[in-house]
Structures are given as C-alpha cells and as structure tokens.
C-alpha cells in the first residue's frame, strides 16, 4: 500500500514537473499575466466578483441556465459571454445552473460581492422575492433577460425577455387557422415551472379547454429532453391511438417526436398526416420547416445581449430605459411561407 502510494505521489510530482516545463515553453516572456488571464476569465461559480472600484469596468453578474440544455440556450449563453467582456468595458462573472435554488444562492453571493448589475435568466418564475429585496437594499440593479419572474415591476430596472405567452398564443392561433376537423394533440412540455413552459402550455391549455374538437391524446413533460420526447410519442403509437398534431415546446423535443414518427412510417410536415410544431431558433429546425418535414416553428430569439448592453450603458449614463419590459421581436415560421432568407437571418 505504502509502496503504491509512494509510486503514485512520485508519478504525480513528475507529471506536475512536466506540466510546468510545458507551460514555460509555451509562454516566452511575461508569462505571469498570460497564465493568470485565462484563470481569471474562467466562469467558475466560486470566482468572486471584484467590487465596482476596479477601474472603469462595470461589474456584472450573469446568472443563466445550463448552456447545454438546448440549442437555444447554447446560443443565448454564447451571446452573453461574447458581449460582457473586458474589451466591452465589463468585469463579468458568469454562473449557469438549471436549478433555481442554486441560482438564488449564487445571486445572493453576487449581491454580497456588490456587483453593479445582476443579469438574471431565472430557471423558475417564483422564489426570487428575497433576492430582489436584497438587491434593492444593496443597490444592485437587476435586469432580467430571456425569462420573466413573478415580481412587482419596481423590483427590477429592466427586462429584455421573450414574451412566452405571446409565443404560445401565436402558435395556437396558427394551429387553429389550419382548419382541421379535429385536433388530437400530443403535447410535449418543457421543464415544468419554467417561463417558457408556462407560456407555451398556457395558450394551448386554454384552447383545448374551450374547443370541443381539440383534445389531448397525451400531455407529458419531457423536460426539454429529446429521447424522453421520442419515448412518449412511441408509447402513444404503441397504444394505437390516433393523433394529428405534435406540439413540442422546443425543437429538440419535436425532433425526438419526429424520430418516433419516422420509425413507424407516419408521415408528417407539409403534406403529412401529422402537424409538427417546435419552438426556439435552431438553424436545423428552421431548415426542417423550410424543407416541409415540419410545419411550424415559433421563433424564440436568444440574442438579447446587445439590448441588455445598451440598457446598461444608458443606465450608467443616467438615462432610465424608455420601457421597463422590452420584448424581443419574435414570430412564427410556417412551412408554406418560410424562406431561405429567414433561416439565414434568424437561425442560430
């Protein structure tokens, strides 16, 4: 045991020697700043934000969801990270988590570290009251991006968000305009309790409750997961129930559902038996709509970073934003009308 431990330690030491040697070879002169720069810019949760005193940089804390949850989030997170850099005059700390409780804990940490602005994309719409209160007391200004939360408007300075209920409404209106005799819907929901899920579910729930010929074949959450969406759709097919609409609350889940349709030879899209609907902004999904394999994609614009940036610059200059809540421009894309130009403009 001792011998092995000794061996392992020796190995570790020699490895670290090799690592040091490599580092020195790569950085010719002034290696200290070169080494510390990447370490400082790593978006580790524990990196404390330095107080606002550090030069002219504006300190911001960015709390976002997990960039890997969907293509939408990947684009959103990348845009935020590209915008809030030192070159653009910011000292930013990033934190990503899909768990609202973790987000809240980190938000409180950031407020204690006295960031100037806290940019927030809350994983759930509730539970933020203490954070908002603390922020107000500490003089930290909160800007919501991408997702709303349930709070009084006075608790945050601005919100650059997607209007999720409107997205749902646009999609449901589009579906109603298709004039089917009967709507038998497989409804695949996103992560329960998120703004996107609530908005997109709300509009459809209302319509299904109101219309006699609108029915749910199934209403299940796949928590944004493609494979779960495939399993849910396959289980409906195995049950032998008939359906003619797939309303998936993001593109990944729509893709999973389509995989199940394909595996069973059920036609879908423009001239198919089943209408396929997805949400977000992925280029591949827009291409699916363009080539007619899907019918509809509700655009959810992930690029709010520029708007948030200009709001912050205005606030620093002493100008309050003209509008408290700014909705990112969004629309639905229909297989009948979408063009390649749309894909190029809005695809991410």
């Amino acid at each position: 045991m001792k011998k092995i431990l000794g061996l392992a330690l020796a190995a570790a030491m020699s490895l670290s020697l090799v690592a040091c040697g490599g580092g020195n070879n790569n950085t010719p002169a002034g290696s200290n700043p070169a080494n510390s720069a990447p370490a400082g810019s790593t978006p580790a949760a524990s990196t404390p934000a330095t107080p606002a005193a550090s030069g002219e940089l504006i300190t911001v804390g960015v709390i976002n969801n997990d960039p890997n949850e969907s293509g939408y989030r990947t684009a959103n997170d990348a845009a935020m990270r590209a915008m809030f850099t030192e070159e653009n005059g910011y000292k930013a700390t990033f934190y990503n988590n899909n768990d609202a409780a973790q987000q809240i804990a980190e938000a409180q940490q950031m407020i204690q570290n006295e960031v100037d602005f806290l940019l927030l994309s809350p994983a759930s719409t509730t539970g933020w009251d203490t954070v908002l209160k603390d922020a107000q007391d500490a003089g930290t200004q909160i800007i919501l991006f991408d997702r709303m939360l349930e709070a009084d408007e006075s608790m945050y300075v601005a919100a650059v968000v997607s209007d999720m209920p409107a997205e749902g409404k646009t999609a449901v209106d589009w579906l109603a305009a298709q004039g089917l005799d009967e709507y038998n819907i497989i409804h695949i929901q996103g992560l329960m309790g998120s703004d996107a899920q609530l908005g997109r579910t709300g509009a459809l729930d209302e319509k299904v409750a109101a219309e006699a010929n609108w029915n749910y074949v199934t209403q299940q959450t796949a928590s944004w997961d493609e494979e779960t969406a495939r399993t849910i759709t396959q289980s409906v097919i195995d049950r032998g129930e008939s359906f003619n609409v797939i309303y998936a609350e993001n593109n990944g889940m729509a893709r999973g559902a389509v995989a199940a349709l394909d595996a069973n030879g059920i036609t879908h899209g423009k001239d198919g038996e089943v209408i396929v609907m997805g949400f977000d902004s992925d280029t591949w999904a827009m291409e699916s709509v363009l080539n007619g394999s899907w019918n509809y994609m509700g655009l959810c614009n992930p690029l709010q970073a520029e708007t948030v940036d200009s709001i912050i610059k205005d606030l620093v200059a002493g100008n309050a934003p003209a509008q408290k809540i700014i909705y990112t421009p969004e629309q639905g894309f229909d297989a009948a009308t979408i063009t390649q130009a749309d894909v190029d403009t809005y695809g991410t």
Binding site: I4, D66, N68, M192, D225, E226, E227, I232, A263
Partner: protein, 369 residues
C-alpha cells in the same frame, strides 16, 4: 479454477423442502416474479399491450412496432450498463454513479469524430467503427480513473465516481466546444434505429451481442471467479495470488466499455446530443437493476443474468406506466413504490417469513382432512 462457482445456495440440495420455498430461495426469483406480475397485469388490464404490428417506416423499410418491441429496444442501454455495473458492484462493493455522465462523454466523442470540425454534418467524416472505438477508449479512460481511485486510493466508490458524475457532462460539452453537434447521415443512425431491410430495432441485436460476449467471457475466463473472490474477501484473494487492486480496476474499465456502447446507442437514436439531459439519472436505474437482480450491493457473489432481467423489468414498468398515460413527472414516484416493494420482498427476513407463511396453511389443511 476455470469454471466460475455457481450460486452456492443452488448447490445445497434440500429435497424435503416445498417447491415454493425452494423457488423463493433462488436469486432470480424476485426479477422473474416481478416480470410475471407485470405481464399478468397487462394481460388482464389490456391484452392489446402485447400486440405487435408490422409497419413501414419513412425510409420504406419494414419495421416491427408494439409495446414489447419498445421495451426490448428502449431497455438496451440500461441492460448493457447493468452488466458492467454488476461487475463493479461485485468487485468493489460499491456502485459507479458516473455512468450517465460518462455516457455523455462517449456520445460527445463519437459525434465529434463523425462530425469532424462541423457542427452539423450531412456525411460522416470518419469511419464509424473507428469513431466508436475512440469513444470506447475515452470511457475506458474514465473507468480507469474511477477504478484507480477506488482500487489504489481506497476511496469509497460512490465518492470516487462523484467526481466524474459532477464533471462528466461539462467535459462532454467541452469536447465539442459547447456546440450541439448533429449528424444527418442516415447510416449513423442504423445502430440506434433500424438496419435497412431488418424489421427488428438494431439496439436489440447489439444488446444480445453484449450479453453473449459476457456469457462467453464468464464461461471461458476466470474473470467471474476472480471478481467474486475479490468482492468477498480482498485480503484472502491476495494471499491466494490474485491482485485485488488490478481486478477492481479491470471491472471499472470493463464498465467503461459498456458505457461507451450504451452512449453510442443513445446518440445514434437521434444523431445528436444534449449534454445535460442525455441519460439523466440512468445510473440510478442501472444500480436498481443490479439490486433487482438479487445481487448484494455490498459486493461478492453476483449473477449478471439477474441484473439483465432487472433492467428489463424496469423498462417494462416504465413502458406500462406510459401506456396508462401516467405523467412522466410521476414516473419516479411509481418506480419508488415498486422498488420499496421489491427490496422489502427480497430481504432475507421477509423471504423466510413468506416461505413459512405458505407452509403453515398447507399443514393445517392436512390436519383438517
């Protein structure tokens, strides 16, 4: 030395015992009974559960579909993981909780290889077999890392694998520069869907091949025997000339191979990956499969066929719940109920009681007559 020891309980012959008691003593009693219960439930509730139909998929291939096909198909990843998990459990007396995260790594590596430098690729940039081999290598390394911590640093398996559990999905994202790669090449999806002209889902064949491979390995090598003896008593097996550390490490590396195969099946079902959601919580199902198979989670004696059956039972249960449209958020709760029942039933105390319970009324009936 070349033949693995059989379950000692089956070797002890108790001819005077009633059949029921002998049955309940069998290790496979619990998974088989659970499977029979599920089958009976579905037969009574709605026999159409077992209907299998022949359809044509969108590519014009004949395909079989039905709940039973779905069970066999969707259980594939879990079955393969459960086999590896059984070996790890047996040798180290603990479980690897990082298999879901390392599946993400395997999937990420394979997609990175076949997509080349592109994010969305219409054709494979690399021979698929080579890409899968590189994926296997990656998860073997993860397995070796876990195994080394467990075997050479004597860290509790759950703590040791917690590192990969936490870091794995981030590593998977990092491998692809945080992009979500998509491969549209149809031949990539053969492994996760159907081979042209063959109506049975390919994952079923892959799983069968893996089961066969492990059957051969356990039959013709000493792996099974060595794993058991290390799990039962590492010191005495060392005194008998085995290297317990090496064997523990080996089982983790073997689990790594299983993880890569499962990850490959999972990504080839859709040709894409979602790092934070892929195979989420599958480690718990894999551990549950091992437990359902009647294997002691504290290590030692093991039966991979029990774990395989356990995995199918779990998938059968999931599919049954989906059939009755149980909300997918409620699935874990239903699973928990079943787990509690099964774990309590498989506890030796309860089994003994059950066997006696069956015997007692039989005796009184005889006395009356």
């Amino acid at each position: 030395m070349t033949t693995p020891v059989k379950n000692p309980q089956t070797q002890i012959k108790r001819p005077d015992e009633p059949l029921f008691k002998r049955l309940t003593r069998q290790q496979l009693f619990i998974p088989v009974a659970a499977l029979i219960l599920l089958v009976l439930f579905n037969l009574i509730a709605d026999p159409s559960f077992f209907a299998i139909s022949m359809n044509t998929n969108s590519l014009g291939n004949p395909v079989l579909s039905g709940n039973i096909v779905s069970v066999l198909d969707n259980a594939s990843e879990l079955v393969i993981l459960a086999i590896g998990m059984t070996l790890v459990t047996a040798s180290s007396g603990g479980q690897d909780i990082s298999v879901g995260a390392t599946m993400a790594i395997a999937g990420s590596v394979i997609l990175r290889m076949v997509c080349g430098s592109q994010v969305t690729s219409d054709t494979m940039q690399m021979n698929l077999l080579l890409a899968v081999l590189i994926g296997i290598l990656a998860t073997m390394l993860c397995g070796a890392f876990n195994g080394a911590l467990v075997a050479y640093f004597n860290i509790q398996p759950m703590v040791a694998t917690l590192i990969m559990y936490t870091a794995g999905r981030s590593i998977a994202a990092w491998i692809n520069n945080n992009q979500l790669p998509i491969i549209n090449d149809l031949s990539f999806k053969y492994a996760g869907t159907f081979l042209p002209g063959i109506p049975v889902p390919t994952p079923i064949f892959i799983t069968a091949a893996v089961i066969l491979a492990f059957w051969l390995i356990l039959k013709f090598t000493t792996l099974g025997l060595y794993t058991q003896s290390v799990g039962i008593n590492a010191n005495s097996s060392r005194l008998n000339g085995l290297d317990p550390k090496l064997i523990k490490l080996l089982t983790y590396v073997i689990l790594g191979v299983c993880v890569a195969l499962a990850g490959f099946i999972r990504v080839s079902r859709s040709g894409s990956i979602n790092y934070s959601r892929i195979a989420e919580n599958i480690e718990m199902d894999a551990i549950l499969a091992v437990a359902l198979g009647g294997n002691a989670l504290s290590g030692g004696k093991f039966n991979i066929y029990g774990s395989i059956l356990g995995a199918y039972v779990i998938q059968f249960l999931t599919t049954t719940l989906y059939k009755y449209d149980v909300p997918s958020t409620a699935l874990p709760a239903y699973k928990a109920v079943v787990v509690i029942l099964l774990v309590v039933l498989s506890a030796p105390v309860v089994r003994e009681k059950l066997a006696n319970l069956k015997k007692a009324p039989a005796k009184t009936a005889k006395e009356v007559s």
